[in-house]
C-alpha cells in the first residue's frame, strides 16, 4: 500500500533526522538551555524556601543497597588503605579557599554529623533507600573559607572508570544545601567498598552519578571549563549526560 510505504518512509526519516539533530552543536546548546530552565524551575517552585529531598524511616531501608559504577578502586594504594581500615585516608579541601584543609577520618567524624534516610535515584531508573551519616559539606566549606569567586565545587575521586579518573561537580546552591553531606556511614556501618568507602558525597536533589564515591578531594573553582573534559563530571564528559542531574 502506498500510504503504508509513505508512513514507513516518514517514520524512518524522522528517526534518522532525530539521531542526526541530536549530534549537532545547536541541539546541544538548546538542551543545555533546557537543563538550566529545569534547574531554575526546580529552585523557583520552592518559593524562597530551601527545597528538601524526602526523608524516610528505618522501616523503608532497602535490604541491600546496590553498588553501581566503580565497585572498588583497582590500585595497590587503595587495597592497602582498605586493609588498614582506611585509618590514613585523607580528604583535601583546596582551590578558591582562604585556608586549605587536609582532614583525617577522625577529623571528619569529630565534626557535627547529620544522619538522613534518603532515596538514591539512578539515572537508569531504579531507586534504593539508605541511611547516610556524615558532616554537612557546608561545615567543611565554612571552615576552609570559600572565596567569593568560587562558583562550583569539584569532587575528586580515587577510582578510575574506563581508565579515566571519576569526578563530579555541583553549584554552590547544592554544595551549601543542608542535605549535602560527606558520608562515611551507610545504615549505621562504615561505608561498604561497593558504595564508595571510606567517603562519598550525598547530593540528595540530584541523580546517582553526582554522588561521587571514594572521595579524596574537594576543590572550589570559578569555572569547570578547564577540568578534565570541561563538562563538570565523568559521565558528562564521557557520554554527554546532563550536568544538572536534578531531572
Amino acid at each position: 500500500m502506498r500510504r503504508r510505504n509513505f508512513l514507513a518512509a516518514a517514520g524512518a526519516s524522522l528517526l534518522a533526522g532525530c539521531s542526526r539533530i541530536g549530534d549537532t552543536q545547536w541541539f546541544g546548546k538548546l538542551v543545555e538551555g533546557a537543563d538550566n530552565w529545569h534547574r531554575g524551575l526546580h529552585r523557583a517552585l520552592g518559593f524562597g524556601r530551601i527545597t528538601m529531598a524526602p526523608e524516610f524511616t528505618r522501616a523503608d531501608l532497602s535490604p541491600d543497597f546496590r553498588g553501581n559504577g566503580s565497585l572498588t578502586v583497582d590500585s595497590d594504594a587503595y587495597r592497602a588503605a582498605e586493609a588498614a581500615g582506611f585509618a590514613d585516608w585523607r580528604l583535601e579541601v583546596t582551590g578558591l579557599v582562604d585556608a586549605p584543609l587536609s582532614l583525617s577520618m577522625d577529623d571528619i567524624r569529630a565534626l557535627p554529623q547529620r544522619t538522613q534516610i534518603t532515596r538514591h535515584d539512578c539515572v537508569e531508573g531504579w531507586s534504593a533507600i539508605g541511611e547516610w551519616t556524615g558532616p554537612q559539606l557546608s561545615h567543611l566549606l565554612h571552615a576552609a573559607g570559600v572565596q567569593p569567586e568560587a562558583n562550583y565545587v569539584v569532587f575528586r575521586c580515587a577510582d578510575l572508570y574506563n581508565g579515566r579518573p571519576y569526578y563530579e561537580s555541583c553549584d554552590m546552591d547544592d554544595a551549601l544545601h543542608p542535605q549535602t553531606i560527606v558520608a562515611h556511614q551507610l545504615n549505621g556501618e562504615p561505608l561498604p567498598v561497593k558504595n564508595g568507602a571510606p567517603l562519598r558525597m550525598r547530593i540528595e536533589r540530584q541523580l546517582g552519578y553526582k554522588h561521587a564515591k571514594y572521595l579524596t578531594g574537594i576543590e572550589l573553582v570559578a569555572s569547570l571549563d578547564h577540568i578534565a573534559g570541561g563538562k563538570g563530571g565523568y559521565w558528562e564528559d564521557a557520554a554527554g549526560y546532563q550536568w544538572y542531574a536534578g531531572i
Binding site: A34, H38, L41, A239
Partner: protein
C-alpha cells in the same frame, strides 16, 4: 460578524501540532530511557528482579530516539521536549478557557453521560457515522479529548516531576499523591501507552472520516459550519 468562525481556533491548531510533535518525540525517547532499566515497581524504591511487577521488553531501534541505545541522548530529547509539552499545554488550557472551547466543546454535559447516549454513540461509530449529535464533538470524542488533555497529559507531567529529584524536592506532596517514586514511574509508563493508544485510534478515525478535510481544517482552521 465580518469573518465566519473558524472550526478550530488558532490557539487550538498551534497547540495540536506542537503537542503532537512533543508527544511523539517524548514517547520514542522514553522507550529508549526504558531500555536503561526495563523493570517497573510499585512504592518508593526497587531495583531487583524479584521486586518488579513488570519486566519490560527491549524496545528496538526503529521505535526509539535516538535510533540506537543512548540513555544520555534520549534524556536530552526528554529534557527539552518536556518543557515544550508542559508549557504548551498550560498555554492551550488558558486559551481554551478564555475562548470557552473547553467549556463548550470538551466538557461533557450531564445528560451526555447517560448510558443510552453513550451506547447510541458507540453504535454510530461502529456504523462509521461520525457526524451526529448536536455539539462539535460527540460523547466518545469528549471522553477521549478530555481524557488526554485533563488526565493523561497532566499525569505525564506530574509523574515526570516526581521522577526528577530536583522537582520532587520542590513539590514533595506529589510523591505521596502517586504512592512513591517507583509508582510514579510505573504510572508514567502506563499513561504513555494510553497516549500511544489514543494516537493510533485518533489517526485511524481521521483516516476513515474525510482525512483531507480534517487535516486541512486543523492547519487552516476551516469553517465552523457544523455548530450553531
Amino acid at each position: 460578524m465580518s469573518r465566519p468562525r473558524k472550526r478550530h481556533a488558532l490557539s487550538t491548531r498551534l497547540w495540536h501540532w506542537v503537542n503532537a510533535l512533543a508527544v511523539i518525540l517524548l514517547f520514542m525517547s522514553g522507550l529508549n530511557i526504558s531500555n536503561a532499566h526495563p523493570r517497573l515497581y510499585w512504592g518508593q524504591a526497587g531495583f531487583a528482579r524479584a521486586e518488579a511487577w513488570l519486566e519490560l521488553p527491549r524496545f528496538p531501534g526503529w521505535a526509539t530516539i535516538p535510533n540506537y541505545y543512548s540513555l544520555s541522548g534520549a534524556r536530552d530529547w526528554h529534557v527539552l521536549f518536556s518543557l515544550v509539552l508542559g508549557f504548551s499545554l498550560l498555554a492551550f488550557m488558558v486559551a481554551a478557557l478564555i475562548n470557552r472551547h473547553m467549556q463548550r466543546d470538551i466538557f461533557a454535559r450531564a445528560r451526555e453521560w447517560s448510558p443510552g447516549n453513550i451506547w447510541r454513540d458507540i453504535v454510530e461509530h461502529l456504523r462509521f457515522n461520525f457526524d451526529h449529535g448536536g455539539g462539535k464533538y460527540n460523547i466518545l470524542q469528549k471522553i477521549a479529548y478530555s481524557g488526554v488533555i485533563l488526565v493523561l497529559l497532566p499525569l505525564m507531567i506530574l509523574t515526570g516531576i516526581v521522577m526528577s529529584p530536583g522537582g520532587e524536592a520542590a513539590l514533595p506532596f506529589l510523591t505521596d499523591l502517586f504512592g512513591g517514586r517507583q509508582s510514579a514511574r510505573s504510572i508514567h509508563f502506563l499513561a504513555a501507552w494510553g497516549l500511544c493508544l489514543f494516537f493510533f485510534v485518533h489517526v485511524a478515525l481521521v483516516l476513515v472520516s474525510a482525512p483531507i478535510r480534517q487535516l486541512r481544517d486543523m492547519i487552516t482552521g476551516g469553517r465552523d459550519d457544523a455548530a450553531a
